[in-house]
Amino acid sequence: MERNHDIDVPGPVASGPAPLQDEMPFAVVEGEPLTELPRDLYIPPQALEVFLEAFEGPLDLLLYLIRRQNLDVLDIPIAEITRQYMQYILLMNELNLELAGEYLLMAAMLAEIKSRMLLPRPQSDEGEEEDPRAELVRRLQEYERYKRAAEDVDGLARLERDVFQVSAEVVERKVATILPEVPLQEMLLAFRDVVQRAAMFAHHHVQREALSVRQRMSEVLSALETGGLVDFISLFSPEEGRMGATVTFVSLLELMREGLIEVVQAEAYAPLHVRLSPRPANDPISAEESTDTVS
């Protein structure tokens, strides 16, 4: 805020005792500010190019001119600033530097403001005078705040310059895979579709009643997989009640019907035992193995 009104203090960049609205010297030779390019002096165009590239556009250049002289952005001496600005433009022209169109646009805008400053100001609806510089001032301020925001962003502690992300080696990296999820619904749809395709609707295997029996069939087969005799009674769980017993019984009947198991009894009234059906003798593999299991 202070820098906007204490205009008497020379700016930090200002070289020499340049009075307030003096034109901007582009060089100082033996204490004498040079405001015109000496005809006999060769300035390599690259040097000026570098100088101009330091500006991010006409607004930046204007701000530089204003700040350099500690002028208040809100009260720019428009005639003087325009004159200084034009000097830079002419200089650039003289050096045949390619000038961005934006610089010329700004020159035109400055000239227009300057001429309007000389004319009586039009009254707005509220009866207030409108300052012809208002729009320029707004743009300069708007640009300046983002120019400073850019400096602030650059000042943030950032990765690779101020902050270093750390890492540690994982010597034994194991690749773990997540198993896909299967919604039940998807499996049911798959079942419906496959059965529909196969036109197997009437088949007894897929009636509801079969399901608990089929599950029990798998369980009974598992219980018998050791190959030995299993107590018939042990296949029933009293805690399942009558329904459970019925399911087990039906599943045993179904397994017998399919020839998967057989029920054996040593003598009349002796306890019943269940075992897997002996393998057919004509099967070479099972014939080999059967010697191990049949005892």
Partner: protein
Amino acid sequence: MESTHLKNVIEAALLAAGRPLDVEQLRELFEDYERPPASEVRVALATLAGEYEGRGMQLVEVASGWRIQVRADYSVPVSRLWQERPTRYSRALLETLALIAYRQPVTRAEIEDVRGVAVNPNIVRTMSERGWIRVVGHREVPGRPELLGTTREFLDYFGLKSLDQLPTLAELKDMDNIGVQLEFGETAEVSAVAATAVAEAESVEPAGTETPRLPEAANDPDVSPA
């Protein structure tokens, strides 16, 4: 040099480097005037190694210097950082699984009869590895083909208490959209507060949240075969 400062610089550098650093490289982190002797660097390394005991990382010496690495105890959870996103199971797998569930115990040949194509051995292996199916026996016919059935894990995964809870084929046939039907079934039954409580208590199964509940009717043991 103050030993904490030295230790911290070494720690920071080893963590930032992403490669092992030897004692000489560590010494070069310091300006000439403050460069610690190699002996001090080694003491600092030993101190650091000790401080990492019981932590997530460890300091080890390898051929090209010292390295901070993840302690092997934690490589299993850490490896999950790079785990592959799951792919979806194929239609063929789902159909095979469904057929095993509904028609168990069942042989591959019987599945092939229904599906009309050979059973891909990878599919059977995938489902076995997942613990959803297993060989429950052999059909005593020439070749003794394996009989496949579903497991308790299968029921757990799908949030079923028993296979009875699966809809019958007749029910499936009537459903143009199973999802809608199943949801209807649920809302219809959630009349009682107790039912809700039970449903919530049961929803701890992994797939519970995504698995639509089945109509209560299928649960009723009284409807089961006589």
